[in-house]
Each structure stands twice: as structure tokens, then as C-alpha cells.
Amino acid sequence: MYFVVAGGGQVGFHLSKALLEAGHEVMLIEADRRRAQYIQEQLGSVVINATADEGRYQIEAGCQRADALIAVTGDDPKNLVICQLAKFQCHVPRVIARVNNPKNEIVFKALGIDETISSTRVLMGVIEQELPTGGFLPLMPLTGSHLELIEAEIAKDTPSAGRAVGKLGLPAGSLIGGLVRAGKIEHVDEDTVLQVGDRIIVFAPTVTESEVKKALFG
């Protein structure tokens, strides 16, 4: 596949390197001349020295035939505009933006950029996943929908422990897709009673995330 990476900082550089090693074609756009030169020495002729928030340089980088563009500069407004221009002008089928301020995830979604990566959120996810007791963890948004995937662990003091799935009062449009009990995945229906130690995977509209949490954890 052909990827255009906007921004050659640590993230952009290592991402491009990994994509190249995986056999993909990459073009990296970096505004700083010396940084661009360094990347060229390291990775070869896969970098253009230009500002990625200008349409003509996106075209120069071959965005019209790119399978995806990933904007990973340290500046959120810039990443937003880079992604929007790629969509508007070059009709890149998939655009992904790095968000530095986690609050901007919602903003980017509202403005048509569905796929965002927030390093803060990723780190929080890692930390929360290691929490010893019952946890509620939004895993990822589902591309091209307003749905997301949530993992929840039922602990001893979780209000939903011992209750049937049909009686939890989960918001409309949400669904428990599966349950991991004693290391095995099990089918869930309305009558399934949640037990301490269960881990469940929930599909839910992003806007109902807090309602899902309330239904499970009170």
C-alpha cells in the first residue's frame, strides 16, 4: 500500500521506517530542511521538504494515489487541516490524525476525521488495563461508524455482578458481543448472568459510553 506521512518528528520518522520495513511504499512530508535531509540519509528518497498543510505539496507527494494519509505533527490544528485537505482535494480514502490534546478527539470526529490517535489515551488505556479490580475501558472506535468497542471487567463490588444481561438497562443500540469467563469466550444472551471475574466486550454508540458505564458500574 501507499502511505503519505505528514510530519517527520519521532513519530513520523519511526512510523515511516516501520511501514517501509513492512514492504509498503511511503512518502514523508517534513517542513524542516535539516530534519528532512537527516530522514533522507536514514530512509532513502522517501521524503519531500515541504509544508504538508498546502495542497500542492500533498499533490507533489502523490496523495491522489495514496491509500492513506497519516498526519502526525505536534500541532493539532495543522493535523486537522492536513487531513481535511487530503480528503477534500485528493480524495484520500483513509486519513488518520494524531491528536496531542485528548479533548480534540471529539472535535476531530465532529469535523469529519474519524480516525484519531491520542498518545495520552493510549497510555491511559495501558494503565487502566493493568488495574487489578473491575475496569471500564473504551478500546477503540469502529471505523466508519459512530460506534465503539468497550471492554469491562466485572469485579466483586461491581453492581452488575450477579444480574442478567437483559436487566442491566444498557442504552439502546448497545450490545454485549461476548464474554470471557475462565479464559474461554462465551455467547451472551438476555438471560446470561454476569459473574465476578467476567470480562465483557460491548459494542455501543460512542455517545452512550457514559450510560454503558452507568448500567454496568452504577
Binding site: 498543510d53 498546502e54 495542497g55 500542492r56 500541532d75 493539532d76 490544528p77 495543522k78 486537522l80 487541516v81 481535511q84 485537505l85 477534500f88 482535494q89 490534546n101 479533548k103 471529539i106 472535535v107 465532529a110 469535523l111
Partner: protein, 159 residues
Amino acid sequence: MNVVIVGCGRVGAFLAGLLDSGGQKVTIVDLERVAFAHLPQTFNGTTILGDGSDLDVLRQSGIESADAFLALTEGDNRNLMAAQVAKEIFGVKQVMAKVNDPIRARIYRDHGIMTFSRTTILGTLLHAMLTGNKEIGPKLMALANSYEDEMAGMDLAER
């Protein structure tokens, strides 16, 4: 009319002063406290220190009841993001963004954001004056000059 302006540079502060003296309710946002020094001393509106594309800062600025929103910072991208947030998330009716790159200004205008570019506006005006265009130049310059007279007058009166 409630107006929220992001960016208290020369243009933002000038417009804020103009609207304020015309009796409009103006709130102006900037990242730097020193930027508010651009405002006229008579300014009666509200100043808010913060990032004008941040949802909480915008809520604090009263954007939810704003009739108009203008993004006038030095950054095209910041202006475009703030303007889209105002329009799409807060539903402000009249939204304008300064986008100095003419191409970017054009693309976003096609996507429903009212953009204007200092590059083309100032360039067009200068060109009109140089080529003796009798319509564009004189009207705008007369009005602008009258504002400058007022500002200079006030400045002298203060001393």
C-alpha cells in the same frame, strides 16, 4: 448582537473596538495577555485568556449564545479549526476565518466556511488603487481613513 473574536492582534483588536463602540457585546480571546494591549482603552467588552480552539475556552467565551464568530489569529490552521468548531459543534450562524493562504481559503469556502485572505484582499485593493479603479479603492479607503482619524483623535485626547 453577541460576537466572539479569537485572536487579539491588530485586526482582531481593531474590529473588537469598532463593534464595541457600536454597542455590540464583544468577547475576545487570545493566548497571550499582552495581546489585549492592542484593544482601545475605551473597550468595554470581555477578554479571555486561552486557546481559542479549545472547547472549554470557547464555552467560557459564551460561544453558545454568540451570533457571530471570527477567527483572526496569525495561524491559518488555528483559524480554520476554531471556525469549524464554532460552526459544526456550537452551531454559530455567522462564522468567518482569516486564512492568508488563498488556496486553503478557497477550498474551505467551498466547504461552507466563510474565509477571507489578507493576501488577496490587500493585494486586490492595492492593485485597484494602482490601476485607477474608481469603485473598489476610494470607498473602502475613505471609510478606513475615517476610522484612523477617530483613533488618532482619541489617542491625542488621551495624552
